[in-house]
Symmetry: C2
């Protein structure tokens, strides 16, 4: 039952999902593009993620190399499921209908959705 990952923590996780393991420094550099955080802030987020048992660290000299313990797919699956349950009573099609009405569906999405459906019907 991994605990909830906050918005800021997620930015760090994304960095670790892109490349692992990384030292705190590497992560700070990598996320600098998105957020204007000090190195200390990144380190705080890392220790909170450690406390939540969603990352682990291996010592490398006098620093640590961090790596994710939960796969991005698992996290994403949990969040997606949670949203669908909270807002759409667990039904997926209203979600898609919602997004379609917002014009969030690209032509590519439509093609891919058709593929998915085709796969499911067999």
């Amino acid at each position: 039952m991994s605990e909830k990952i906050s918005e800021a923590e997620l930015v760090v996780m994304e960095s670790l999902w892109e490349a692992a393991p990384q030292a705190a420094n590497d992560i700070a550099d990598r996320v600098a593009a998105d957020r204007d955080w000090s190195l200390q802030t990144v380190k705080t987020l890392l220790s909170r993620l450690m406390a939540k048992d969603v990352i682990a660290a291996d010592q490398d000299g006098r620093r640590f190399l961090y790596r994710p313990l939960v796969a991005r797919e698992d996290y994403v699956a949990g969040e997606s499921g949670r949203l669908v349950n909270r807002l759409f009573g667990g039904r997926v099609s209203p979600l898609v209908a919602q997004l379609a009405s917002q014009d969030q569906l690209t032509a590519e999405d439509i093609a891919e959705l058709e593929e998915i459906l085709k796969g499911l019907k067999s």
Copy 2:
């Protein structure tokens, strides 16, 4: 730009979306099924929702009748869009693929998705 609605606040909003206007008492009764909250807790959440300008209250004798100021569809649209952006780079089909792989798609969903796609292609 209405502010963020918290998890607990959302429970109150759902009650108001189901029926409005309602007095604090009615809401407390209605949400009692889900959460074991005191009446005071519900009132606190109501005043926070007032502060966030997502509900309004009209006086009725010595109490207030509360009603939502934002439509459920608008809220849901925002949250759905946010999730798709955060986790799927704004692309919808990976989300559906994700949910499909979790077996979250019912036969009914599949049929409705086909309808949605049919509508979009015309």
